[in-house]
Symmetry: C2
Subunit: 763 residues, 2 copies
């Protein structure tokens, strides 16, 4: 969890006034071309289904037809009048609305259940129809109601959801009534799965089957989420008198996992009572699932029970490898004493989780519609017209999830039946639109309105899932992880260390990313390639030893590989001295910063080789080492390369070796040619039968020698097969001829960098 | 995860030298009376089982017999010689050791499997015996080997663990061979469950059954943890050629859940090959489970495969409500090229997770025994005698678990076969003891030693699971959660606010906790009680209205309730003025600090009641409110009380009401009697038939009036039944007579605090 939660701040404006009632609001991306969504609204009594067009969406649509428009998005959103309203359908007592592209045209259609009846206990036993409305496109918006087509029905139909619940090929609509039928809260309700037929425009109804008709009563909400993992099927949380239940399809059958019984049934509560005041509601009324960090199912937020009073979160308790147990934390109990009698009279109606503050953790919102009070005869007392504690939207944020400690802010004062969330303002933040509650003869909020609450506080740039460059400490060295360069949009850089006359940093560049270079800088590619148009530089692109090539650059702009992008080291001259007499004097400055993750890397410095675990044979030799940095890919942790630094004084033989105990492809870059002719020496073929313990005694004429100039690298020494690939020896080592760094006889020391590449990586 | 991981720092000393070999080390609490453990060590060739007695434990035992001893624990631990060594048994080729109290005497016994054979492919087909040694008590330590008793056998017996795996009544020993038998890596190995008989001292062997004999080959480790939740049975991670598998008993059967296949079997790897260099190891060699925050199974750390090279962590990926998928992150590949051929020749041997730095998250340690290299004929090359990269103990800490980013430190240079963890230094930190690896004809570390690494960096006081007082913001007010006072050992305090002449703080005190009070302070109990010996103060202890009592104190020390402890408000005079002319002038200072959790409470201030949502009837009245603070229990979130503050000017009638819309038991405490005779007025019985809308017009003689003096509270006004409990009315409200705060006619304002107690709580 973030240590510094932001204080939530929303600016609100009414986007629909003069409504006669209010029940539903649904986020509605009119077309897949639209950058921002509008909303669908409806009321149970008026029966009108309306599309409120987001002024940004309509303006952007107009602009694509009339590019001369200059209106800004901000000015559009601030203008109440700009949310154009279109009546797209009218039904008797419509309840739920779901938006989904049924025709696969790229235009979002609408599914509605209607002919509900005035309220649940007086539901229309011949009603509960499910109809879908075909989106006619923006050109058809002024032509009245959308074309209706039929899906199916069941009495008291109350919630419908769209998704892919049993398979991923044909769209499915899940439908659940609130009660089994008229005055029947006790018979389990059928949850019906309708599957889209191939010819949706010709079908007279959709084929359907029953998911469950023996488990749930008084279903108030169905919440659809991918609860079997992000690549799984859609599944559901059913909020019913039985509590909150995960309903999902697995192994060719529907399974139910009870998360919580919700508000327990109190002594005296009767299953069959219907009269107000008797308190025949228990279980859960609404639920959603909250993510914290990398756990997408970190908590369940619920409103318990039906039209409930009790805001709860359930956190994981008594955890093991299978996480089954949830601990209930009652955050708040809302409502007047009468509402707290659990008669289904509110004040809570809806719960939704989302990451409003953009910190990677989900907060949740609770809709409170208001104080519905009843007199001693059970008659409704008209609701308070102003704000009150049982009306509005509450915003809860987890502070200490394990202990169920949240912070709470009230972010809206108006009656809220339901909330639609989405990027309505187009800023990248999550905004919300709320519908006031007004259902005749139940709770009639005076002047029901639709209000947008625009997120004013979250950062506008959403968090990236992984930083392009991640650093940590690794047994006294620096470790740098990189994402695959093809996944990034811009270049990133990380300082590593200053050595001799160079500040060395590592960079990652996207495909075709611009890599500006300055005169005198060295650039060494670790992965991918860069090109200045005349030729590409690759990690292992230099011809085999004794060839050499420069890493030096002139003022220009190079470009990263068009297929792979690039990861590279940049060596920037820092106007230090260029020659040194001893390793202890060499400029070394540690600039690798892991402080932001609370770590510290003990400063790197040159260590005399005789003091290293393998350096016993170099007693008294002016030969030093400083190691180094690891470079790996973050996703699969594949090593790319490791670098370390060396110095050798005049005349020093750094030891003849052939890497029989290592598996890498090594090259060296000269940072200071202090001995003038220092560089790589390779044993001549004529001497290959020399016993290994006599190799260091051979005269220099036994070697082919390549002096390395400043910022030059030598071609790889390893043996290659006819395809140019490294030859592998016993135990999979990379086969090398015997070789050594041999210093010349100048008066300063050689300083160089060794790069050890992963031979398993195609470079 | 903590944002500032501590850099690990251990001081090491050798506690056993002059060993001829080394294989096992096991934490050993000699007796349940001992505060700190010692260790059991053993070697495969010497066959000697030794108890190394922790000098602190032996000194503390001596001290309890000879209280004159003055040696400190620190001086004891720093002394190598002080770890007395006792040979407690000797066997042919003992392998695993487990410590458990078999006799239920309070003394820990030892179980050993032995007669293994020289190494796994040449295992003794008549061996694999499991024997237990009876702890004779400290008095018997000088009397040689401990009494041996028999449990059972299977060839190549290699790992044994103790616990309660299928039930919680009879001790179970789980035993697994490393291979099925001589030169047989391919036949699945029987995992055997031995169950302790009732008469363990008389039994000739223990009854046993087979848990599984068709699933696992080359079992290198069994890790026992409670993976079905902290209250579940013990279960196991089996590290075998099949990978890491959770093996557990549920619903009357043994179940296997594969966590990972570990190191994949490479092309060309043969199941039946035995010769060195052919690379016939894959899967997992060792595993442990790491906790992060409140997730006890946040990651799995493994060493892959058998005597492996590859340090991995598995993190949760593609997560849903059932968490099944684990993503592999290869953190490091160790070993010489020959070791990396997966011949079972190391260098890794053991993995263990624990919270070494005390931040609530588990780190893990990896034991590396050394570079076991072989020449071209497959003959072992003698190991390097000094430190090298494939020898020692690595410490890994999670930095970004989701992305598998860890930090790594090398905390020991010496060869490590196995690690025993425990509070050896008695500081509350987790220390470790490591055994060097020396098994003849396999890997023979020169001079094998047992080394203790004493944790020098973790905080000495372990984290509490929940802070006694937790605060957050709650819709513009302060929320304070308390643990149950009976769970705490010391008192804690939290500043709330300064109002008028008082700094108000809330305190929690343990049972019988001392509550010092100063002259002039007010103390109001919210939960439990406090007493000065002459009588207890309770939250609702004042006799019913019109009684009153003081919350004032004189210099003394009171004591919290011996059964319940206490939660209380303290009102400390701050030498401000004592009277004010208007609410706007009243001293108010916000001192409620939620900054440490990144929150901020908008400063509380007095608001004119006419501007509150319910205050429309008080237009123009000098009547102000400031709300307030909630007090609740953390565990179940049960409300205790809510407080708010009020002011009223001279002559103000604060409105006659009877709380018909509230459910609480309310009392008031006077903070400034500015109108001189302000206080609670209760409607006289004679006037009860007055229509409610005329109550505010009644003359003051219609009321019984109780002026409240400074720091006095009045007795509760609510109606009570014959047991003294509050009478409840319609909708469960607490029934009150009509009442009001009525200001007097002095020249200043009244300031008072209202406390609304939860009537469902027994106070």
């Amino acid at each position: 969890m973030s240590p510094k939660p932001l204080v939530p701040s929303f600016s609100s404006s009414i986007i629909e006034d003069n409504r006669s009632d209010g029940y539903w609001v649904e986020t509605f991306h009119f077309s897949k071309e639209d950058r921002v969504p509008g909303v669908i609204t409806s009321g149970l009594v008026s029966g009108v289904i309306e599309f409120l067009d987001n002024p940004i969406a309509s303006a952007e649509f107009q602009k694509s037809h009339n590019p001369k428009s200059t209106q800004t998005n901000e000015s559009l959103l601030s203008s109440f009048a700009a949310w154009n309203k279109y009546e797209i359908g009218k039904f008797h007592s419509p309840v739920a609305v779901v938006a989904v592209d049924i025709t696969k045209s790229g235009l979002t259609d609408i599914v509605i259940c209607h002919d509900y009846g005035p309220f649940m206990l007086e539901c229309d036993m011949k009603g509960g129809h499910i109809t879908w409305l075909e989106n006619p496109g923006r050109e058809g918006l002024d032509k009245g109601h959308w074309k209706e087509r039929y899906i199916g029905r069941w009495p008291a139909m109350h919630r419908i959801k769209a998704g892919f619940f049993t398979q991923k090929s044909f769209l499915e609509i899940i439908a659940a009534s609130v009660v089994y039928g008229e005055h029947d809260k006790t018979t389990p309700i059928p949850i019906i799965r309708f599957q889209a037929p191939e010819k949706v425009l010709e079908a007279t109804e959709w084929p359907h089957d029953i998911i469950d008709d023996r488990s749930f009563t008084v279903i108030h909400e169905i919440t659809v989420k991918k609860l079997s993992g992000p690549n799984g099927l859609d599944s559901m949380i059913i909020s019913s008198r039985e509590g909150a239940t995960w309903l999902y399809y697995e192994d060719n059958e529907w399974k139910r996992d009870l998360i919580t019984i919700g508000e327990p049934r109190a002594p005296g509560q009767s299953k069959i009572s219907e009269s107000p005041g008797s308190g025949d509601h228990w279980g859960t009324g609404c639920a959603d699932v909250g993510r914290i960090g990398d756990d997408p199912v970190a908590y369940i937020a619920t409103l318990d029970p039906f039209h409930g009073t009790t805001a709860c979160v359930y956190t994981k308790a008594d955890r093991g490898l299978k996480e089954k147990k949830w601990k209930r934390h009652i955050l708040d109990v809302y409502g007047t004493p009468n509402q707290q009698m659990k008669t289904g009279d509110g004040p809570g109606h809806y719960i939704v989780c989302a990451d409003f503050d953009g910190d990677g953790d989900d907060e949740f919102l609770l809709s409170l519609f208001g104080s519905l009070d009843r007199d001693e005869k059970g008659e409704s007392i008209p609701p308070n017209t102003g704000p009150n504690p049982n009306k509005g939207i509450m915003y809860y944020k987890a502070i200490d999830l394990k202990n169920g400690v949240f912070a709470k802010w009230k972010i809206a004062e108006e009656s809220s039946a339901r909330i639609a969330i989405g990027g309505f303002s187009g800023t990248g933040r999550i905004d919300l639109v709320s519908m006031a509650y007004n259902v005749a003869r139940y709770y009639e909020e005076p002047h029901p309105v639709v209000t947008i609450h625009t997120n004013e506080f979250a950062p506008k740039v959403p968090q990236q899932t992984a930083a392009p460059i991640t650093s940590t400490v690794w047994d006294g060295e620096g470790m740098v992880y990189f994402v695959d360069p093809v996944t990034i949009q811009s270049s990133h850089s990380l300082p590593l260390i200053e050595v001799a006359n160079y500040a060395i940093s590592v960079e990652i560049h996207p495909k075709k990313g611009k890599v500006p270079v300055l005169n005198g800088e060295g650039v060494k590619v670790l992965y991918g390639s860069i090109s200045d148009g005349s030729g590409a530089r690759n990690p292992l692109g230099t011809a085999p030893f004794p060839a050499a090539s420069t890493t030096l650059t002139k003022d220009s702009s190079m470009e990263a590989d068009p297929e792979k992008g690039a990861i590279l080291l940049r060596l920037r001259p820092i106007h230090q001295k260029t020659f040194w007499h001893g390793a202890g004097e060499v400029h070394v400055k540690n600039i690798f910063d892991v402080g932001q993750i609370g770590l510290q890397l003990k400063p790197l410095h040159f260590i005399k080789v005789e003091n290293l675990w393998w350096g016993g044979k170099f007693k008294g030799v002016d030969f030093y080492n400083m190691s180094g940095f690891y470079f790996r890919f973050l996703e699969d942790k594949t090593p790319i390369a490791h670098i370390q630094f060396w110095t050798a004084g005049p005349g020093v033989n750094c030891g003849v070796h052939n890497h029989s105990g290592d598996i890498f492809q090594e090259i060296h870059i000269c940072l200071s040619p202090g001995t003038e002719t220092g560089g790589m020496s390779r044993l001549k073929d004529a001497y290959v039968d020399t016993p290994p313990d006599q190799l260091n005694g051979l005269p220099q004429k036994a070697f082919d020698h390549l002096p390395l100039q400043l910022l030059y690298e030598h071609g790889g020494l390893w043996y290659r097969d006819s395809y140019g690939n490294a030859v592998r020896g016993r135990d999979n080592v990379v086969s090398y001829p015997w070789h050594k760094w041999q210093a010349g006889n100048g008066s300063n020391i050689d300083i160089w960098m060794a790069l050890e590449f992963n031979p398993a990586l195609k470079l």
